[in-house]
Subunit: 233 residues, 2 copies
Amino acid sequence: MTLSRRERLRENTREEIKTIARKHMQEQGTTAISLRAIARDMGLTVTALYRYFPSHDELVTALIVDAFNALADAMEQADSSQPREEYAERLMAVMLAYREWAIQNSADFQLIYGNPIPGYHAPREITVPAATRGFRVVVGILAEAMANGKLRSSTDYQQLPPHVSAYMIEMIERDGYNIPLQPMYFGVSGWVKMHGMIMLELFQHTPPVVGDPEEFYRFEITNILKTAGLVLK
Amino acid sequence: MTLSRRERLRENTREEIKTIARKHMQEQGTTAISLRAIARDMGLTVTALYRYFPSHDELVTALIVDAFNALADAMEQADSSQPREEYAERLMAVMLAYREWAIQNSADFQLIYGNPIPGYHAPREITVPAATRGFRVVVGILAEAMANGKLRSSTDYQQLPPHVSAYMIEMIERDGYNIPLQPMYFGVSGWVKMHGMIMLELFQHTPPVVGDPEEFYRFEITNILKTAGLVLK
DNA sequence: TGTACATCAGTGAACGCGCGTTCACTGATGTAC
DNA sequence: TGTACATCAGTGAACGCGCGTTCACTGATGTAC
């Protein structure tokens, strides 16, 4: 669909508002998203912004959706940079992209995975689909590896507490993942660890412990992949 | 040392201020720590609070130190509730206490492990010693298990990137851990995972995926312990 | 035991900032005939 | 091609809030002789 001149200008202004909001987040944290401060930076009055976002919360929602999508884009791009049959390489690339994006866009990362903004309630029907995109890439690769007989048939997941595995199987169905339990369990189990490392790195808890967080991160991924029989070339 | 009547009253007031600050954090997030709001709740003028905390930042620092200490206390207590020789049980109890405390005191947990408060800079010489207490419990148990020949001599840690292991060995020395590299590596590697799970649970990312976050958390700990040869009775 | 003085808790006004949202409005741009 | 009208971007004042910090002060409590 083509946009009229007016619509294009409108889109540009919306983007400019979000760009400045991101700058403020980066400088002052996610609670510093302020319509008045953005207006000041743009040389507009506050009220003008209400033409573009009906409220502060709607702006925050737009930023959250953008952030989840940008992160997922980065992961998808990393995935497609690797040969299709090299599952270990694909997973490594995707998880490195996850970390890289988190560090390069730490304010956005805090916005989507950190402390909630006081008083703000995300409309889950809007944010959740964007939120799961990145994770779908990971479990998708794992499922592909399994379908091609490259995933070690570990027995771990078979010992999950019965109601946990029942819930997960139901969730796989409900959210349309269309994959077996094993890659889903493996994906969640690995994801939470990498996520923890990134969070701790971002807030300066691990750098004084491991020295080089990126090397450590790579090392841990390599080990996790090994437990699934996925070996890097 | 005994305190005079005046000193006792003073301590009580300081505690009351922190208690109300924690209530506000729980309700409005860590950025809502406000001297004026606390004064309002106490029926005092703002300026009266300056007798107890010389600035907003000093109050935040006190809350951070208290939080790290409370978390470490909970972990130490969990540790001492188990038989000394049952290393797997001790580690399970300690990590469950970690999660339990995080969930029961989610605002404090966000304060110490979540997004930084804009404009606040922690005096690391004050916060870091408190921050490492809990982790010391974990690696302490692992080192004890190793000293008693109960830790499987995995070769994982021997393949750490050379400058990472060099850095960690130096850090062990610098921070006075007095333990070998293996339990340190194992402790960090496990810690980051449990931390990630808790963060994701707290912010509602994993509950819709795993259904019962506590069961899942237990399951993952059990598996991690197994990889180190530590089996729960 | 009584008194003078120092210490301390708390007040109230002020400074100089910040915020989201509503309302009635002006003036430019686009559109339909 | 020219004109009337609708649409839209942006203004400016106002409402009712919030914040940390400094300053000169009052009045009660504790202490030393």
